[in-house]
Subunit: 479 residues, 2 copies
């Protein structure tokens, strides 16, 4: 343990972990022509998508599917930045020794069968640890699913595309303690075109830990929001380091964490799953709060919040304009907003009078502003353009039920126009029609996050207010 | 108000409200060839889908789109069970008088412009009230979106199909205080193939109230679960009647309510929207609990719970088998289950030993049973067939991440086979692949509800336990 913290903190070997995400060349150790095998899927994914050199390594083959195959890493007649290792655990120490000899800069050890399976695995893990100890190589894993980078096609997630879709490039980074949860998240995100551009699962973390990954993403200019799926931290030292890192990172970027293993009942399950200490959830909560982390209550909520934080400016206050074509939806939004401590202030009488002039007689102009089921796109435009620039509100939650006959896809343009007021906006759009899907896609493509229900939209705005508070708090403490 | 309660309670005129949902013939008063108009959309929907006679009524036309058009209701040379009225408010009293004269059994007054708009509207509403007072006609509305019945194609929701999809036949009934929310829900449900077979929005309820609708659905054999979207009840008397009715109904069928307008901030918005008294939410909560209603916290959650209650048997206890191929997902399920008071008991040693024999070495057999990322369909079968029939568990939450390479659509059959043990099951399936969609559809078509995240699946099981408790409580009180 001491070693681990030392390695990570001191960076003795001078290498940062950038090669894990942006290598120029990758070797797949354990490449195989056997379909369905882990080494096969990784090989196919990298040959098909990786924007860099790919070398195959397996002593049993001279070539695989027409691509040259090397007997060992040391036989590769070129530089190897990253080696992805997918061979049986007992063979791993020899491969790691070869990698060190070859001067490979980073390793992703996919292979399982280490400390997670018992004494023999622990022995193998210690062996690997001692091999890398005096070298500069950086190691992710073992027992992990590795790295996904949408930008350069680096993808060690060993699941074929038909099982697990890949999300598009985007400003959200994911650090997941569970490989399966990470895979499911990427699959889910791909369907929703949610830009999780970088994802990593670190397994038994004999070298690179969640803290170092967090720090790395903090320094990566393509990443705007960092999300963390966590079950627990192994040692007090690990926890402390993580929280210290988080506190630093949260000053520059929002970090959202979803911690599973919150109840007494699930602590045993966590211990079995990732050998982590789920511990007392209240202690985690308190620590997260102090560290400036934004806490989500489910995987899905984590990305609801991330979507807003990745696209919207931070609000100056907590006052929300709720603009809706359905009184009922407006009420639901107010319920959640006010439960979360945000305000939906009544608009001043002058504003109300002005709105009454332009809106139909049944419209409600207090706030929520309800343009009713007879709404047209223009009503939205009038309200946005007259209220959003004023000092009465800090952000807007816009409900647009596209079932209503007067609305057209042109509403998107009015909402996008309102970005010029520099205030955060989220849109709630609930239904199922193709028209609605088109409307939602057009908004999200223009950087306006869309949510299916008012409570989710409200919570996304809360995250903006919360991060605004956190950043202020952390920066004041630094001064 | 007294009149209203009296009419509803005494059923003086001998008519029940079945004609609102199952008429043999419908007249559309206000039928028009003008596309986009309310009368046009209703006419087109009924002519296209309603399994019964449709008469068009409008003094301005002899025929519309080739269909005969009558000058007035009294001119129709056949019996009219139901008249759907979509004419300007000032004309409505005359139409209602005609309907009474004609002996029409039920009216749905879609038209707005009544008490919701002020004094003149209130006067018109009183006029209608006095016209129907001594007749047997039953009236839904005014100012409502009316009725949707998937079975016979009765559909007064005046939104075209491309704006609002229609859900398939099914055992869920919806009573919504908001028309727009009802329309959005149906659109949403249509996309998800969620069987909301009956839906109703009642508007200003000058005659038929939510209580009578609730009672009616209780007696309808096609309805297995009743869902209610509510913003508030207008008078103490109305509230009392609703709760008394709910208490009776909950003995025979689960009733789920989502109450919007929960916070001080939203009370004003409710008053503006449906002129209801949102009141103190805690009072509502207490009353709901006493009445045996199951409370949901969002529209979406309401149907998550309904799906389980409509398809699953009630559990005998609160002990859950969690069966998963992802330790992380299992942990998330346990978190929610245990927060909701359900148990995930450790399996007895004999069971664990037996499972260990058949499952791979890394599998966890305590409960959650984690068949790991190397799972095959057969592992699920082994666990279900050996644990579910025993007395150690009362129900199952099954997580199947279809990203995992060893799973095939055949898993569906194993899960369906396990229905024979007579215990509730829900499946959690998270991702986005076509394979997963196919898997989910096959399960839902066989009556196994599927949820995207562990917390939602867990909450669905909670609803089953909760309704089991409620029914026992209410029936014991009756004895």
């Amino acid at each position: 343990m001491a070693t681990e913290v030392l390695r990570g903190e001191s960076g003795l070997r001078g290498n940062n972990i950038d090669e894990l995400f942006h290598p120029s060349s990758v070797a797949v150790v354990g490449a195989t022509p056997k379909q369905g095998h882990v080494g096969y899927v990784i090989m196919v994914n990298l040959l098909g998508k990786f924007k860099g050199k790919v070398f195959l390594v397996n002593p049993r083959y001279d070539s695989i599917n027409g691509v040259k195959c090397y007997k060992g890493l040391t036989d590769v007649d070129d530089e190897v930045d990253l080696a992805v290792i997918a061979v049986p655990a007992p063979v791993v120490p020899q491969v790691v020794a070869d990698a060190v000899k070859k001067g490979v800069k980073a390793l992703i050890i996919i292979s399982g069968g280490f400390s997670e399976v018992g004494d023999e695995g622990r022995r193998l893990e210690d062996e690997v640890r001692s091999i890398i100890k005096d070298s500069k190589v950086r190691v992710l894993g073992p027992n992990c699913i590795g790295v996904y980078n949408a930008e350069n096609g680096l993808d060690t997630f060993f699941l074929p595309e038909d099982r697990m879709g890949r999300p598009p490039k985007g400003p959200i980074a994911l650090i997941s303690q569970s490989g399966a949860v990470a895979a499911a998240i990427l699959d889910w995100a791909s369907r929703r075109k949610l830009g999780i551009g970088l994802a990593v699962n670190y397994g038994n973390k004999i070298d690179v830990s969640e803290s170092e990954l967090l720090e790395y993403f903090a320094g990566n200019p393509n990443v705007k929001v960092i999300t963390i799926y966590m079950e627990g931290l192994k040692y007090p030292g690990e926890g402390l380091r993580f929280l210290e890192t988080a506190r630093k990172v949260a000053q520059v970027k929002p970090v959202i964490v979803y911690k599973a293993g919150r109840t007494k009942a699930s602590v045993h399950a966590v211990a079995s799953h990732t050998a982590a200490l789920a511990g007392d959830y209240e202690i985690y909560r308190g620590a997260f709060r102090q560290a400036g982390l934004i806490e989500a209550n489910s995987v899905r909520e984590m990305f609801d919040l991330a979507k807003a934080l990745a696209t919207q400016p931070l609000p100056r206050g907590k006052r929300v304009l709720v603009l809706t074509d359905s009184g009922g939806m407006g009420i639901q939004a107010v319920d959640t907003l006010s439960t979360l401590g945000l305000e939906v202030p009544e608009l001043p009488e002058t504003m109300q009078t002005m709105l009454r002039k332009y809106l139909p007689p049944l419209a409600i102009v207090r706030n929520p502003v309800d343009v009713t089921g007879s709404a047209t796109d223009e009503y939205y435009k009038i309200v946005l353009d007259s209220i959003l620039p004023t000092s009465y509100v800090d952000m807007a939650l816009i409900v647009a039920l596209m079932q209503i006959p007067g609305l057209t896809p042109n509403l998107v343009n009015y909402i996008i126009d309102a970005k010029r007021y520099g205030k955060p906006m989220v849109v709630v759009s609930f239904g199922g029609s193709a028209l609605m899907e088109k409307f939602n896609d057009a908004l999200e493509n223009s950087g306006i996050p869309v949510y299916a229900t008012p409570d989710r939209g409200a919570r996304a705005l809360w995250a903006l207010v919360e991060y605004s508070r956190i950043r202020k708090m952390l920066r004041e403490e630094v001064e």
